[in-house]
């Protein structure tokens, strides 16, 4: 019954969304005055709310079906079972293919609703166009849910128990990772809709760039959190110590992130100087296109096996068709209208525009690199030539030379001026920061004892940029309060805009991230060993003693629990580490649960392999040990970037003026 109501809600939402899009586009056709559009806008907004409400009902219905284990719903029977803890039953709602798409649609409806609620200074007509565009795209995905990927499909006869949620997904991070990622993907739809509405109106004033910025920043921040959580999850759950595998699933989310990063920076130029508008529009369309491509890659099954995709093409082809329809029509619109965009202000090579443009060039290069490495093997396989993959060294060899110059340029960013900057402006703060960076490098090299080129380059670039950014922030803070004598630090900081502080935080996040990556890549150590009970081995600065393995029984799995003692220096016990080898009862799947001890951003990481036969003693196990210095900086860096992105939204300039017309 609940499943039926949920499905009916989805169908109703589809019809209403289609109606809203049709009515919206039809009514604003040729209308350019504000007055008659306001009642229309109110009607469209109410329709958006209705659609959002119906999708919510449907999603809650799905969660309910999972919680009460309604196995007459195929989706529930295949992804949950009676023994699963209730917490994971709820999470299983979006653990499956169908459920995750419903989550996607829910997020989309929520973003549309947020646009409808938000007060920003654009004409009512423009807002109707934005909402209608969003509704139209939503219709496509609702149709996909109803026709090809129904989360409420009826299963008869009803089984007594279900299968299982993939044990890898039974983790707290995996519960919040997909919603964050989707918030990011789908958030770029708002920027996309702004671009489409701008193209439709043929008006490219600075308003749309200005009001695109907060939406883009939030979407980007969510995507950053999503990617960072995914990486953290892979590190903790896959059990093999890696934090980024250049796997197509990961690359699928990295591509829109790179395009989104470029978009944030080109939007800044378009808003402040009116330049690069045509490029910004293209980026806005492309970023969402890449979000859809990411969804297609991960969700169509094309990655698991091109052949599986070819034998069961219904879903994949549907998403691919949607992708082409949305992307194709928006690009055609772009091609038709871009001639009307016109040129903005002129600028010199030393101006801030050039720095931001360089960011775009470097991000595009990174994007091309990832795209080639991800899509080329797929294309080759589809045309039936050969099966291949692109090794990690490809990505690693190209990413450092692309990203490190970007980090260097970021150091100059805050000191630059629009149009043209005298070189003296860069030299003084640059020289100080470079001096500090070289000192830090020297100190770190002396303490560490070893050295590598990548590490040295990474540390110098990151410290250089961080010092330059902080120095600029300090100077700006001091100047901000100079008109008010004896003003406090907090007061002065608050006089600078939140957009500025957001930029500072996000850039510092990049520096933290680069330091983390340089350290881990250079100084991490890894050992596979066979350990007898009582035997001690060394990893990094730590001594690890293997006590033994115990068997434990938990709610839905049994596990071999290894016990390891971690000591350092004079031999006092620092920590007990208890990695597990789990066996899930419903699915008969084995899973390695690593044990990690974090000590000031550095990790000791132990995974249990298999029991090893031994002629001399019983209870030997194969064990993998890692020492990962400063690895946690990678995720802290991501968190800082996301925080920076979020902060910008609360800038005063995005609050509507009291007396202005606010739609």
């Amino acid at each position: 019954m609940i499943a039926f109501i949920s499905q009916f809600s989805l169908a109703l939402a589809t019809v209403l969304a289609l109606f809203g899009a049709w009515a919206g586009f039809r009514a604003v056709k040729g209308v350019y005055t504000h007055a008659p559009a306001v009642p229309l806008l109110i009607a469209v907004q109410r329709n958006v709310l209705l659609v959002f409400g119906l999708v919510c009902v449907s999603f809650l219905g799905l969660i309910y079906s999972f919680v009460v284990s309604d196995f007459s719903v195929r989706n529930v029977a295949e992804n949950s079972n009676l023994a699963l803890p209730v917490f994971y039953k709820i999470a299983a709602s979006w653990g499956s293919h169908e459920g995750s798409f419903l989550l996607w649609v829910l997020m989309f409806a929520a973003w549309t609703q947020a646009v409808a609620w938000a007060r920003f200074e654009v004409s009512a007509c423009f807002k109707v166009r934005v909402l209608a565009t969003l509704q139209l795209v939503l219709v496509g995905f609702l149709m996909y849910l109803l026709l090809a990927s129904n989360p409420f499909e009826y299963l008869a006869p009803t089984p007594l128990d279900g299968r299982d949620l993939n044990p890898l997904l039974q983790d707290i991070i995996m519960i919040i990772h997909p919603p964050m990622l989707y918030m990011g993907y789908v958030g770029f739809a708002v920027t996309f809709a702004f671009a489409v509405a701008g193209l439709l109106e043929g008006r490219f004033d600075m308003t749309w760039a200005r009001w695109s910025r907060p939406w883009t920043n939030v979407a980007w921040a969510f995507l950053t959190v999503g990617i960072a959580l995914g990486s953290w999850w892979a590190y903790r759950e896959l059990g093999w110590g890696g934090w980024w595998f250049w796997d197509p699933v990961e690359n699928a989310s990295l591509m829109p992130w790179l395009a989104g990063t470029a978009l944030i920076h080109s939007l800044a130029v378009s808003e402040k100087r009116g330049t690069l508008r045509s490029w910004t529009l293209l980026l806005a369309l492309t970023t969402f296109a890449l979000s859809l491509l990411g969804t297609f890659l991960v969700r169509s099954g094309v990655l698991t096996s091109v052949h599986a995709f070819a034998t069961d093409p219904e879903r994949g082809v549907f998403i691919l068709a949607l992708l082409f329809l949305v992307v194709g029509s928006s690009y055609v619109l772009y091609a038709m209208k871009t001639g009307e965009v016109g040129q903005g202000g002129d600028f010199k090579a030393t101006g801030r525009e050039s720095l931001l443009l360089s960011n775009n060039v470097l991000m595009s290069a990174a994007l091309v690199t990832v795209m080639l490495g991800t899509l080329y093997p797929l294309v080759v396989e589809v045309i039936g030539a050969r099966k291949m993959s692109v090794g990690q060294p490809y990505f690693e060899a190209l990413f450092a030379p692309i990203l490190l110059p970007a980090v260097l340029l970021m150091a100059l960013g805050p000191d630059s001026r629009w149009r043209e900057t005298s070189l003296a402006q860069y030299i003084k703060p640059g020289a100080v920061a470079l001096g500090v960076a070289l000192l830090v490098l020297l100190g770190a090299a002396l303490i560490n004892g070893h050295f590598s080129l990548l590490w040295a380059a990474g540390v110098v670039c990151a410290v250089f940029m961080a010092v330059a950014t902080l120095a600029h922030a300090a100077t700006a803070t001091r100047k901000a309060g100079s008109s008010v004598p004896q003003s406090g630090l907090l007061y002065r900081m608050r006089r600078l805009s939140l957009s500025y502080w957001g930029m500072v935080l996000a850039h510092l996040g990049v520096a933290v991230f680069v330091v983390g990556v340089s350290w881990v890549k250079t100084f991490e150590t890894e050992t596979d060993a066979v350990l007898k009970p009582g035997e001690t081995t060394e990893i990094g600065p730590w001594r690890v003693t293997f006590i033994g393995v115990d068997s434990v029984q938990r709610q839905n799995y049994v596990a071999a629990l290894g016990v390891f003692e971690l000591t350092r220096g004079d031999g006092t016990l620092i920590h007990l580490l208890e990695p597990e080898k789990r066996r899930y009862q419903s699915s008969e799947q084995t899973m390695t649960e690593a044990a990690i001890h974090t000590d000031l951003f550095s990790d000791v990481y132990i995974s249990l392999g298999d029991a090893v036969q031994s002629s001399t003693s019983a209870g030997s196990w194969g064990v993998r040990l890692y020492y990962k210095p400063l690895i946690n900086l990678i995720w802290w860096g991501g968190a800082l970037m996301a925080l920076g992105g979020l902060l910008t939204v609360f800038d005063r300039r995005y609050r509507p003026k009291k007396n202005g017309q606010s739609a």
């Binding site: 050969r386 993959s389 060899a397 060993a529 392999g609 090893v612 030997s620 194969g622």
Partner: protein, 139 residues
């Protein structure tokens, strides 16, 4: 006036040239590194019939782990097993810890080299998806 114009033109040309040089450099590096890191995928039948080009550094073997073929050596992490595509079989040696999804009778992918009689794996891959089947077996 004329001089300023030609100056501006020369300035532009210099920029354009610089951009073209950098883009070309990047393009060449991209293609070179890309080619060096392509890892090709072969089935046991392809390996045994000599389809694998000589001198290919590392490649990827895909197939199914034959039931009953996994043997572990005492006091070490050395493991040997047989990978089959249901037509031909290739013995594989590996020294290390196997991924969770490694199981007899299921699909496996291994990176490594063929020494004429045995495939010496440097890495046995854990796929993200437990339903993964190498194409040679899936067909």
């Amino acid at each position: 006036m004329n001089k300023r114009m030609s100056n501006a033109r020369a300035y532009r040309a210099a920029w354009l040239a610089a951009i073209v040089v950098v883009a070309l450099g990047f393009g060449i590096a991209l293609v070179k590194v890309f080619n060096e890191n392509l890892v090709f995928f072969y089935t046991p039948t392809q390996i045994l019939s000599g389809d694998v080009p000589q001198g290919e550094k590392t490649y990827r073997l895909g197939g199914m782990v034959e039931v009953g073929s996994v043997q572990r050596e005492a006091d070490s992490l050395k493991v040997s097993f047989v990978v089959t595509d249901l037509n031909n079989k290739v013995p594989v040696q590996f020294n290390g810890i196997l991924p969770d999804l490694f199981k007899e009778g299921t699909g496996v992918v291994a990176d490594g080299q063929w020494d004429g009689t045995t495939f010496v794996a440097s890495e046995v891959l854990a796929k993200h998806d437990e339903d993964y089947m190498p194409p040679g077996v899936a067909q």
